[in-house]
């Protein structure tokens, strides 16, 4: 077994032990650190269900070797809310607008929408569609998801 290394996830230093250096960040988050919010729909970089932020960059965690992310700030869906009971504006909008059905694509979308609205607080419909075109959803046809994004953007803009 290689030496343990540590990952900084959602502001917490996490020791990764008993690991194989070939393991993806997705696998380590889910199976070593118990952070199963990050999903494994395709594990080939096509669906974004595994999206996380690495030093603020939206990334498919299935395509990253975990050990290469050492020393970087990793944010997963679990790190986006404000504690267990407090939802982020984006999370709240997804619940309110009916953007969740089976929910398997949802965590990746939540991360992607946080990233989008950080970069573009007033996205047009085309901007939202383009930004989320890598996030596959099979249940919703995207209608309620798009509604949730526009709702979240409006809410964020109205906040001081």
């Amino acid at each position: 077994m290689p030496d343990p290394y540590s990952l900084r996830v959602n502001g917490v230093e996490c020791e990764v032990t008993d690991t194989d250096l070939a393991e993806s960040l997705l696998f380590v988050l889910r199976e070593r650190l118990g952070l199963t919010g990050t999903k494994n729909a395709c594990t080939e970089g096509e669906c974004s269900s595994c999206a996380v932020l690495i030093d603020g960059v939206l990334t498919c965690s299935c395509l990253v070797l975990a050990a290469t992310a050492a020393g970087q700030e990793i944010t997963t869906v679990e790190g986006l809310g404000d504690g267990r009971d407090e939802l982020s504006v984006v999370q709240e909008a997804f619940v309110e607008e009916g953007a969740v059905q089976c929910g398997f694509c949802t965590p990746g979308l939540i991360v992607a929408v946080h990233d989008l609205l950080e970069a573009n607080p007033e996205p047009s419909d085309g901007d939202v569609r383009e930004a989320l075109s890598g996030n596959l959803c099979r249940c919703t046809g995207y209608g309620r998801i798009l509604a949730a994004v526009h709702s979240a953007a409006a809410t964020k803009r109205s906040q001081p």
Partner: protein
Amino acid sequence: MTAEPVVTPEPVVTTAPVATTGPAHTAAGSSAGAAGAAVNTTAGIVDAGTRGVGADVGRPDGVPKVQGRFAFSSDLWADDFLWGHTLRSPHASANIRGIDIGPALATAGVHAVLLADDVPGRLNYGLEHPDQPVLADGQVRYVGEPVAVVAADHPDVARRAAEAIVVNYEVTDPLTDPEAAPTAAPIHPNGNVFREINIRHGDLDATGEVVVEGTYEVGMQDQAFMGPESGLALPDDDGGVELFISTQWLHVDREQIAACLGIDEEQVRLTLAGVGGAFGAREDLSLQIHLCLLALHTGKPVKMVYSRDESFFGHVHRHPAKMWYRHHADGDGRLVKVEARIVLDGGAYASTSSAVIANASCFAAGPYKVPAAHIVGLAARTNNPPCGAMRGFGAVQTCFGHESQMDKLAAALGMDPVELRLINALDSGDRLVTGQVITGTFPVAEVIRQCAGAPAPDIPPSDDRRDLPGGSGRTTDAADTVRGTGFAVGFKNLMFSEGYDDYSSAACRVADGVATVTCACAEVGQGFVTLAQQIARTELGVDEVILAPAQTATIGSAGSSSASRQTWMSGGAVQAACRAVRDQILADVAADWGVSPDGLVLRDGLVVSLDGQQEALLAQITAGAGYEADVEYHHAPTEALDENGQGNAHVSFACAAHRVIADVDPDLGLVRIRDITTAQDVGRILNPTQAVGQIEGGTAQGVGLALMEEIVLDNGLVRNASFTDYVIPTTLDMPDVTIAAWVEEPEPNAPYGAKGIGEPPTISSSAAVAAAVRAATGLPLPRIPIRPADIALG
């Protein structure tokens, strides 16, 4: 033949009061006051404030799902668990001359390598016919057929060990043409024909003044749910096993698992783990038996998670179809006769092929009055991947056929295609080609009028390249595109058919004013959990409703989360269970107050008399052990089709229509859908937002089938088992879906009048997209998905 009226039997109710505490009094007097008839009528929706039936209530699992805290079947673990992996056949057809598991077993970290000989019970499984080997036994019949399973302490170790298994295959020529299957040498002891249907209805010698003929094809679609097949099995101390699994039907899984493990059903305990979508693909078993075999063999918990690649091999697909049609009409456009021959490729094993071909055949003429029909359906066995249930279940394929024909007929008649559909639209009281008279609501004409009559959006030329065919790849100029509008309507049955009693079970308990509902209905994303709570609130006048886990050990079967049936069936079971509890409570309170229970209602957490004289807190009345009831809910009985395909085989029907506006670059063969408008026959809407989600999501799957989704086969080999090569609609492919109307004509025998709404949106959307592309290009386009070359070289 004459159809019998469809009657919903009374639900079978077995009440089991846990203990009935004495009602608490809050007011004196004994006048029964006004009769409580309004409360007990089945028609109409009982007011339960803002969170009951009909209200826009949010999903109870919405918050954990947006937080990443919701546990899907791939998120589970147990102490000291092992990872399972499956070795699959690389050949579509081969004999197995020998298997050497020595190198695999010798791999460090490997705990078990199991073959067909290690299956202790029945060697085959299957939803309707047990014809599919748990592990290949001397022969493989499709690419991806499981040959061996491995358990190891790391998923990569399990995968490498599986690769180290040496299988000596003698490859044989695969049978890949379903039309050749009936006369080819049998590739399975059960033969090559799953089922033939021959519907003969009316005067088969009738001919029309106008006759149109066409041949159509539908490719093999994948359900492509997001959450891959996965589960966790834990052996118990008594030779049994506990399985946490994503599935559509817990109890039928248990039945098959127990048979193949050779143990009692009670020794197999299933709990529904979070399900990442289903759409039919989880109705058959995938890794269930493998997981349990490995857990029992190793004595350790075993987890399996398919990769996306493996998922394409791990579940059934939508049947590819070849269809020939000939429509006869009189000079006014009234249909005189429909002739059709439908061939479905069922692939290597039976799955639900016999039911899918029945649906395809029964609904082959579309939702139209057809006095005479001769429809021949064949579902055949080949060495292609097995096909079975997918949203729409046979009706999707034939909708593309009959709607293509209706457009062709309209053109031949010089008629407006919508008008042609309207004058032929089926209605309640009309007869299907199976002879069955439609006794429920069936507002086909209204659905057509609402959809076609909705104002067409004004879509001006856009200077945003994302709106063009080909998108921001700058492949198309607006000046090079042509626009077309297409229309289609389709229908299918709700619930299982042909005599199958697909009942559902539910239990309700009210204690301390809180309701707990137990039902094994598989929540696969459709939102049954929301409806179950809404129903309990409406029936019991409570606000807090707890949903017990869906398990085989605690409740009877709920039937499958398929066939648009759970709102009706498990909704009906939950309603009946709640009403049984309500009746017990009201009877006790009435006895205590010396009034008639008809004068009492449950409302806002209270028992109140309708005359306003008395009320009591439900929490007090149900303090302690509370009240409980267990029910089975059955739909009206149906019957088998006879040798002429005639019979009252179906319970109820629902239809939908779509109008699609598409821009096409005819030179490049690229399509951009600009607008989709739909209307649907829904009975009653029980949750508006969830209904919108079903309609938008179902429509998107039809768009995918029309334009991009196909499992590409090459002599039985799958060429595109990935999301790189099997593409599904993205945010850039799906336009907004405008719901012109949901047509609410309550279904008389359905709980709250609600019809299932999951499947109709997927049935007519593909046909409408194809019609729009035809209208834009003038090409015949007899095949979906429409590929760029079909347009550019068409």
